[in-house]
Amino acid sequence: MNCKSVQNRLSAYLDRELGGDELLQMRAHLSMCRDCRTEAEGLRSLRALLGGMAAPEPPADFAAKLTANVLRQKVEEPRRAFRASALMFAGVTACSMAITFAVYGMSHHTDTNGPNSRVLEGNMGILTIDDRFSNTAPVISAANFGPR
């Protein structure tokens, strides 16, 4: 290792973040090179300064103010959102079944959960794509209702 690569690793060395060959080579170089030792001492001092600085203290009423302001916030509730989308899904499914029957009549078999149907999750909850009719375009049974 030359001086440049040693000096680039000095912080990691001081922080005990080096191991293996890298560490051995660093030690070997530092034991021989005064310039790099001086550089290491300089960084060690700075590290000591930063680590020893007094922590800035918050004002006395900060905790109470902070707690009140945080707890006042509305929480995003994933469960309620899920219930809403489940309701939407039920409605959409009923709707799309009607459409499916209207378009294809009774001539097609009605195995709705066959091995070829796959379920996608999207912004609106769940979309089912039925590609039993894969020689035509897939039927997307929850149409593009609502915002994207």
Binding site: P56, A63, V75
Partner: protein
């Protein structure tokens, strides 16, 4: 431990308020210390801590259970801080031209014979260190603070900042060198006295 309590209660909205009271109680001082070093002043530190806890509270169901709570909070704080800096362009406290024409500065010791102890020197260097921090990019500032003030390992810093250990290593090293250069330029006597006291 509180961390276990956090894990058990993740996603349970009804308990969130009570849980957060204890989480705030447990970590607000540490969070404030970091926020103060990041922003350089009390008003913005308070805003940043509040913004971070509010985001954590609202999106607690997204809490990554592989992280300790403070690490997750610091991740949120990193993003909030970077947003803030990018929005404003620079930090309020950034004013690097504090050196007088003769090379002396506002913060340097007026009298080298005073021979104060290490603590006093460290206190005298607080403001120049803060100015040096403010002159850095938020990514460098955060990396140095998490490693040197919070005492975290590089891997933890990388987790919080969502980057590689190699990037963290380079940010910390270059960040420290920037601070040292700044101190040698703006508070040379005080800084050299501090180094000699070690």
């Amino acid at each position: 431990m509180l961390f276990t309590a956090v894990k058990e209660k993740t996603g349970v909205v009804a308990d969130r308020g009570r849980l957060f009271e204890s989480l705030i109680q447990d970590s607000y001082k540490q969070a404030y210390g970091l926020a103060y070093r990041l922003t350089g002043n009390a008003a913005e530190a308070e805003d940043l801590v509040q913004e971070s806890f509010v985001r954590a509270y609202r999106f607690f169901h997204r809490y990554d259970e592989n992280l300790p709570f403070t690490s997750w909070l610091y991740r949120i704080m990193t993003n909030a801080h970077i947003d803030m800096v990018r929005r404003r362009g620079r930090l309020k406290t950034t004013s690097l031209e504090n050196s007088g024409t003769d090379g002396s500065s506002t913060w340097d010791l007026p009298d080298a014979d005073a021979a104060p102890d290490r603590m006093m020197l460290s206190n005298a260097l607080d403001e120049p260190v803060q100015k040096a921090l403010s002159s850095m990019t938020p990514e460098f500032r955060m990396a140095v603070l998490l490693a040197d003030v919070e005492g975290l390992a590089y891997e933890e810093v990388a987790d919080i900042m969502r980057t590689s250990v190699g990037t963290v290593r380079s940010r910390i090293h270059r960040g420290r060198k920037q601070i040292r250069t700044y101190l040698l330029k703006n508070a040379p006597q005080t800084y050299r006295s501090f180094c000699d006291e070690l």
